[in-house]
Symmetry: C2
Subunit: 125 residues, 2 copies
Amino acid sequence: MEEKKYTKYSNIRINYKLWMSSETGDAIIDDDKWQLLIAIQKHGSLKAGSDIMEISYRKAWGDLKKIEEILGFNIIEKHRGGKAGGVTYLTEDGNKLIQNYIEFRAEFQDAVDLIIRKFKKRLKD
Amino acid sequence: MEEKKYTKYSNIRINYKLWMSSETGDAIIDDDKWQLLIAIQKHGSLKAGSDIMEISYRKAWGDLKKIEEILGFNIIEKHRGGKAGGVTYLTEDGNKLIQNYIEFRAEFQDAVDLIIRKFKKRLKD
DNA sequence: ATACGTTAGGAATTAAGGTTCATATCAGTG
DNA sequence: CACTGATATGAACCTTAATTCCTAACGTAT
């Protein structure tokens, strides 16, 4: 049977975080916000989105407000009142933005996972 | 003359953060700590390192302490007193660790910059 | 023996974000 | 027309991390 090879680095993990920002560095979209937007898209409300993401409504609302300020265009359209109490849905720009982010994120992840695997393999020697 | 093409995403930047951690997720090395270690290596003291990195000595000291606790082996060796008041230098393990990090970081960056460029180019269309 | 500059580390303070709270607004429904 | 549930937003509160503050220990040089 094979002996598991032990090295000083055997318990090391590589992590990364990816996000979009404006040129001035203000954060726009990261994984959390991207998931929040998807949850909103799926459920039609900011409240549902924040519940799913397990963050406060206040934060979700504030985050999106800031994002739109920075971007300079609207990615969601919100309405209060009505049948459901209120609704929020993504604008065309919003949909495009997360679509771009999703594609990019996937490519990024593929590329990065490859080199991480390569690196970890080398660590074993 | 060429008109600069303007798009909704023209002012978007891609950012990423990379770090090593233990399997339990505790942070070990990120860019700041890696630079701190290099500064220590270069100047022979934790104090000099923290000054260069513009963080408090207390934080640098605490960070390294935590890192070594998590790793389970020493990456620096510290001595107080003496000619310079005290010295700190990297152990062989410490040198290996940052060497690995540096190599990995460079590869990571190359791979990632490539796909970021590709992505930004696509955004323009 | 005193001075100097660094390591060592507990304790208090400050800063930054997020959460909670409170209150208002809105539009469809019973 | 009261009721409901979501959006809107300031303000107070909480949590966690980092900075500042202090005091001590150490070893070489003067």
